[in-house]
Symmetry: C2
Subunit: 339 residues, 2 copies
Amino acid sequence: MTPLDKVGEFGLIGRIQQTVELTQPSTILGIGDDAAILAPAAGQELVISTDLLVEGVHFDLTFCPLKHLGYKAVAVNVSDIAAMNAVPTQIVVAVSIPPRFTVEAVEELFEGVKLACEAYNVDLVGGDTTGSRAGLTISVTALGQVEAGKAVRRSGAGPNDLLCVTGDLGGAYLGLQVLEREKQVWQADPESQPELDKYPYVLQRQLRPEARMDVIHELRELGVVPTSMIDVSDGLASEVLHLCQASGTGARIFTENLPIANPTLEVAGEFNLDPIMCMLNGGEDYELLFTVPLADHAKLKNHPDITIIGHMVEKSEGANLITKAGQPVPLKAQGFSHF
Amino acid sequence: MTPLDKVGEFGLIGRIQQTVELTQPSTILGIGDDAAILAPAAGQELVISTDLLVEGVHFDLTFCPLKHLGYKAVAVNVSDIAAMNAVPTQIVVAVSIPPRFTVEAVEELFEGVKLACEAYNVDLVGGDTTGSRAGLTISVTALGQVEAGKAVRRSGAGPNDLLCVTGDLGGAYLGLQVLEREKQVWQADPESQPELDKYPYVLQRQLRPEARMDVIHELRELGVVPTSMIDVSDGLASEVLHLCQASGTGARIFTENLPIANPTLEVAGEFNLDPIMCMLNGGEDYELLFTVPLADHAKLKNHPDITIIGHMVEKSEGANLITKAGQPVPLKAQGFSHF
């Protein structure tokens, strides 16, 4: 194991730089100068988004492998780019590293960053590495491209638009419950072995989420252009309310339509948690929530990865969950507060 | 004073967003969606740079006012954009905020960010706000534009190119010495009043550095295109070595030519520090170091804000400081290590 101060900041950057491959045609110059140089293709607009992941707030290194953490830090930013209907092109990554870290630990973190770069076809073009007096912090800024005028905002939904979500919900939240329980067991008895093998699905949802770029490409192939879109980072209820607020609409979503995976349902049962609440308020699923014109119903109704969960309504009607019994329950944002 | 958890993350973002003005023609959509949307002008390339400022590593809130800190966080990124010969256009700012902070404290920090945005004509288009279990962290990513092909890298210098630096050096480092001394005095006797009024120049150099965008604009007016450029963040010696390494040259800089301001010289005397070492290794001056063809000598020799400190030589000669007695002393990077 190599202490960080043995290689220094420039040595560390050099090591990371050596293993980075640039594949985007719009990347002119990557890591190693005062700034990277990019040449966006003509007729394209850019989108830019940034996220900060903080140890003790967003992740716990007790149970989060560094490689997964690096992957997740990129994926959650790519998810924001996807939510604009754009294609990610470049990222910059800044990390503040506690003294306890070795060079090999930082390289493992960047191994995850690079795996995500390959998965999403993104170039790592710059960053910053610095020390930290406390925990690890990772800051990722992602750039993406979208044909001029084709970016999808939160604000374009109208009444009667169908409200759709990709994949399934609640898994990431239940994965976190499993990890926190096992941590408590382990803290009480350090000899104990954590029981994680039983929960591959929800753990993967929590530790190694994927951005739904696949759906962005599929929607293009189907000729479907969402009228509004957001990614599900704080929980479905919070995101529906964001779309409603930005678009000046209300919404109706139906309990029966909310997508949940069987392993998620099982873990919810084990933890005695209401699966509906896990889907509405759990967060960190990084699925896409979007609206489409009613006319696109036929194109999406049988899509295996997209569920129509409801539709937009007039603003005056508010945003409601409709229960199986047909009762409207007002949606409330109970998203996680980091403060 | 308002606790952060009273307004929450969205409330805080809303407060910041309300006061942000967008003036760049290339900004299509700012804060408030999953990502900002930008439309760079045709024929322009983009540059992107990111920096992470960490409490306890890069700044000490004992003596750094939050407004200055916000300003500095933007200025140091704009300095990187300037060092590419580009003009800054947009920034995104992510902060992780300790629980002890109030809403008003965060607003003061962003007041400084916005002042810098006005000073450098940059739009604040996005960011992230999150909690922190330890200190304050600020991550800024800056974008800039430059005519295609006109970005200046570190690697373009050739032998005989003149080596120039803007402004003067060593002041930021000596400002830090003053602050650290006064902190020790104050820690020993909390009743004591810090003696800061005597040191306005070096304190301003440390607490509120400016990016040299003015020089970038002046060089354009003079028709001078640097062959290589870097900003002085780690100390002159380290930056000269970066240019030499990237360009495959050596360099000769002359002790007599190094620019130092009178107040800096006086404080160096008071602290019994060698002014030459402060200039070479002090860092954080955020001046620009650049090379120009010998033919540009006449255009720059009388410029009040630019000093010709030496010239590039063949690589085999190495990078040397030439003393008054004509003795070459090999330059060494003694830049600050954050690890």
